[in-house]
Symmetry: C2
Subunit: 296 residues, 2 copies
């Protein structure tokens, strides 16, 4: 657990040691199943993820949770919540919970998350859950990294036009309508199912599962929907494609990060270049020149 925690800190800090870690592990395409949980604050997403942990532990699976977090000085609430959860599972060697901060790097979260998932696979975890904290930073990134994206909604979310505006329908592989004991639940479930029926035909139609996270109700059906989606990925050949695609994406993101670093360094060290950029306003020319230097 400690070695894993330290390795994840390296990828999160974008430490140069990641390069050596990669060589040491040589994980290849091996990758655990990744389910992403996303949804607006107040939907009970964290409670639902807790219920899923309990369910999976009951079945004997090991489970790792990566909670993605914008990691600002103001996020005390979220961090506190994670600490409480971590304490509850502190003695369970088959549960690993970790907040991953974006640390101001736009796009950096997704790369660190991809690398952390490969590490969790190398350390033998059966199931990985990605959970977004709050809104506005990571829904799309989670969908890009997870095999299966579970979108958590509640009956009191607001009207359906707002849901469409939020652009979350197209990232969902499974819908969980949580707090299904409160008013308006049947309407939201019906609306979602109607919407899915109206959408263009696709090989996978996202099912809608009602849950009450605080009581653990519906969690078995929710996980069954996740596994069904995973089987769909495997039988359609999508799973193999996804593994290869993710490694290519990760490589492209590492290259982007290296290029970004080289550019910043060049603009710091070469005052003439930085001045010309400011005078002419030519980011393309400057970026090309820096990348084409052979002394990087």
């Amino acid at each position: 657990m400690r070695a894993l925690a330290r390795a994840i800190t390296l990828v999160e800090r974008r430490d140069p040691g990641v390069r050596e870690l990669e060589e040491a592990l040589r994980t290849g395409a091996k990758s655990p199943g990744v389910a992403g949980f996303t949804g607006a604050p107040g939907t009970g997403k964290s409670t639902l993820v807790d219920a899923v942990i309990a369910f999976l532990r009951n079945q004997g699976s090991s489970v790792a949770v990566l909670a993605t977090d914008p990691n600002s000085p103001f996020t005390g609430g979220a961090i506190l919540g994670d600490r409480i959860r971590m304490q509850r599972h502190a003695l369970d060697g088959k549960v690993f919970i970790r907040s991953m901060g974006a640390r101001g790097h736009l796009g950096g979260l997704s790369l660190a998350t991809r690398e952390a998932i490969r590490l969790l696979g190398a350390f033998g975890f059966d199931q990985v859950i990605l959970e977004t904290v709050g809104v506005g930073q990571s829904e799309l990134e989670v969908a890009a990294v997870a095999d299966t994206t579970v979108v958590v909604l509640t009956p009191n979310l607001g009207d359906s036009v707002q849901m469409i505006k939020a652009g979350i329908l197209e990232i969902a592989d499974v819908f969980a309508v949580n707090k299904s004991d409160i008013d308006g639940h049947a309407r939201v479930v019906a609306e979602l199912r109607t919407m899915m029926n109206m959408a263009p035909k696709t090989p996978w139609r996202p099912p809608t599962v009602p849950t009450i996270a605080t009581r653990g109700d519906g969690v078995d059906k929710l996980w069954e929907a996740v596994l069904q989606h995973r089987r769909h990925l495997e039988s359609s050949g999508r799973a193999t494609e996804l593994v290869a695609k993710r490694l290519r994406d990760e490589t492209a993101e590492v290259a982007a990060e290296l290029a970004r670093d080289r550019t910043r360094r060049a603009l710091e060290e070469d005052a003439g270049l930085a001045e010309r950029l400011l005078r002419d306003g030519t980011p393309y020319r400057t970026a090309e020149e820096i990348l084409d230097r052979t002394d990087n």
Copy 2:
């Protein structure tokens, strides 16, 4: 207007022509004032931006609105809304409204937006407004690009803990509490002001402005707060720093994009390299090798 619309299409498509456009315009550090409006769906953000457009036109300023949009097949609602707005201002040569799609590029929205802003400056627009559509994709990017970020809240947002979780407090330069004619408004304004007072001392303390967008109430005070923040940026020397920083950021992002493209191309064209990546799971080594090739 047509030339501008075409130029923005080029940057949005990441067309190679952007390189030549850059050379032709040589905009340098010249940049219009950029105010970003962000907030959850249902806060009346679009209506508020409309009221700001009317206010600025009344004052004789030209104004361009870039609405950032995840641009999916499901976002019909948002696109329709923009079209209605566009029609209303279609005959006004001093208003330019445009949806900017992310087109599946994580991080791509921010680069295209930066470039579009430089174009709007070159075409003589006085004020640029960035508006996020929906949640989950662009709040942080807007804050990274705008001079002044206006976070729009409503009294029915939910409790303050959820607001902290959402991580929007630290990106706000100005708070607009919209729909200030409904219940709970005084409490939200008071909570925000208390929170700002409890936060660590900073040279700029975000003011909270109550608005009723549907009636245009408070829009003058809101814009005055935006201008105050802009004056603060200028008097503190932050404005000059921001211009230079943004050009460096844009250059780094262009370099990242070029590196990403080169990597994808190399992995497509070099089957041996792609196979080794899949076998060994070594994105770092592969990315470095590709960037260090001299034949890119």
